[in-house]
């Protein structure tokens, strides 16, 4: 296996009186791209910060490659957390930051960094504080991928990037991971875009783990049904529908909880079954009742 594995047991992290993580436990397999998903404030950034020793846990155990990462020179040199705004010197040229990292990161690839700088149209002589948010995010991607650390943690690094840049990022990530397998944890709101990259998924919600499994197992917990609208409606009676789409007379419904006889029933009704989108499952898993707006305040 290549890359660092991660074991998190009963991890609690508090900010004063706010509990960001409440006794969470999960495992990240080495050499796998794992998606860390959750709504705003679910504890994703805090969890990644503890893994990268950016902050201490209040209680619980975190083992990265079998060791506590806090002040652990070997583990820290092999761990790279890129947060949404980047943690680089704002008054240094991008080229100088790459030189800086090249001297400190044992596996840093300047060749890959230069290739990505070209791909994202980043001027090496610019300083980060002169970049747009999207370009700054792109530079975070350059840093995260070119560091080639055994544990790479990418926390919402796509924010502000336009669609072509985001897809260039996904392609670069996958290509480099295939050539240099390592553990990558990707936190993102754009689940529909990144789900093809993910082998494992950890879903956090309000500081707890909702589910942690491989993406296929998670997807198999649901099914999409596509076909004539009336037939789809008949098929889903009594089932939990988490998403619906309709185009003309064709409808698609996303169901949670697959049944053994789904395939035969679908054939009988002339319907097609398909895999469920992680995005729909995620919305379902993290859905909360919206409080009603009082009549007098409308």
């Amino acid at each position: 296996m290549s890359g660092f594995g991660v074991e998190v047991r009963d991890l609690t992290a508090r900010y004063d009186t706010t509990v960001a993580l409440d006794a969470v436990s999960f495992t990240i397999r080495p050499g796998v791209i794992t998606g860390l998903l959750g709504r705003n404030g679910s504890g994703k950034t805090t969890a990644l910060s503890v893994l990268a020793a950016f902050r201490r846990a209040t209680s619980g155990t975190v083992l990265v490659d079998g060791e506590d990462p806090w002040e652990n020179e070997r583990v820290l040199s092999g761990t790279c957390l890129v947060r949404e705004s980047g943690d680089v010197a704002l008054d240094q040229k991008l080229k100088e930051t790459l030189d800086f990292l090249g001297d400190r990161r044992p596996l840093f690839s300047r060749e890959l960094a230069d290739t990505l700088m070209d791909r994202f149209e980043l001027d090496p002589l610019t300083k980060p504080n002169k970049l747009s948010r999207g370009k700054r995010s792109a530079f975070g991607v350059v840093v995260g991928l070119a560091s080639r650390t055994p544990l790479t943690l990418l926390d919402e690094v796509h924010l502000g990037m336009d669609a072509p840049s985001r897809y260039a990022f996904y392609d670069a990530l996958l290509t480099d991971w295939l050539e240099h397998p390592r553990t990558i944890v990707l936190s993102s709101h754009l689940i529909g875009e990144v789900e093809r990259l993910l082998e494992d998924v950890v879903v956090l919600d309000r500081g707890t783990v909702l589910t942690a499994s491989d993406a296929e197992t998670l997807r198999s917990g649901g099914v999409t049904v596509t076909g004539p609208a009336e037939a789809v409606e008949a098929f889903v009676v009594g089932r939990q529908v988490v998403a619906r789409q309709q185009l003309g007379r064709t409808a698609q419904a996303t169901l949670v909880g697959a049944r053994d006889d789904d395939a035969s029933r679908a054939r009988q009704h002339g319907l097609e079954l398909g895999p469920v989108a992680l995005q729909d499952l995620f919305v379902h898993l993290t859905d909360r009742p919206v409080p009603a707006i009082p009549e007098e305040s409308r």
Partner: protein
């Protein structure tokens, strides 16, 4: 090809940190002294035109040489912590590297300041001007070695204090960072007094019979610097990386 999970940084992270921070401070020091030389030269020309030159003008730059790098190190401590940790380095290497850089910077400022004082004194002698230092809290002796040792140790305490003030604000926030200033920045004033000839009970010129005031003051300054360095090291090793907004 797989990732080698056992590799460590190829160079000492303390050395890399110290040299990076030292070069940054020396770059700023070069600008500081260039501006100081220009200001002193202009000052001497103006004084000579309107009156009589009988005091060192450069000596007043000692205050600037204390407080400018002190301020820079406060800002550096706050700004560099996330960059350092995000580069996969330990807080231990940050603390030690910062202390080495602060000491090296103090030595550089002390050497340049003393050297420029000697140059200024030679210029005064050549032009027939009287050279003396007219600043409160200056050492009794203006011999080069005394000036070098006293000034360099003052700078060491001031720059370590800058690191300590920075990490205290980082760890404890604005309120406690400000409340603790007498402890974190106060020692600079104490060391000014230790080396001064007329600073009441704080002046070491009267301590232990007044035989070795430089030695006593130097020892006391080193103790103070050591205590502050220890506090900085402890605070740095427990520091969290703050969230930074885009």
């Amino acid at each position: 090809m797989s990732i080698d999970t056992a590799r460590r940084p190829t160079t000492s992270s303390v050395r890399a940190t110290a040299s990076w921070l030292l070069w940054m401070n020396l770059y700023l020091a070069a600008w500081f002294w260039i501006l100081a030389i220009v200001a002193v030269t202009v000052g001497l020309v103006v004084i000579n035109q309107v009156g009589e030159v009988n005091n060192s003008v450069l000596a007043f730059a000692r205050q600037g040489a204390v407080w400018f790098p002190f301020s820079v190190l406060i800002a550096t401590t706050a700004a560099y912590l996330p960059v350092h940790i995000a580069a996969g380095l330990t807080r231990r290497s940050l603390a030690l590297g910062s202390l080495v850089a602060a000491t090296g910077t103090a030595l550089a400022y002390g050497l340049v300041f003393t050297g420029l004082l000697l140059v200024e004194r030679a210029v005064f002698d050549a032009l027939g001007w009287q050279w003396r230092i007219l600043e409160d809290l200056t050492p009794a002796e203006t011999e080069p070695l005394t000036m070098l040792v006293g000034t360099t140790l003052l700078f060491v305490v001031a720059y370590v204090s800058g690191l300590l003030v920075g990490i205290t604000y980082q760890r404890a926030g604005g309120w406690w960072g400000t409340v603790s200033l007498p402890l974190t920045a106060g020692p600079i004033l104490l060391v000014f007094a230790l080396f001064a000839q007329d600073a009441g009970p704080f002046s070491t010129s009267e301590w232990f019979g007044g035989d070795q005031p430089l030695l006593v003051a130097s020892f006391a300054a080193l103790l103070i610097a050591g205590a502050m360095a220890f506090a900085f090291d402890r605070l740095t090793r427990g520091a969290s990386v703050p969230n930074r907004t885009a």
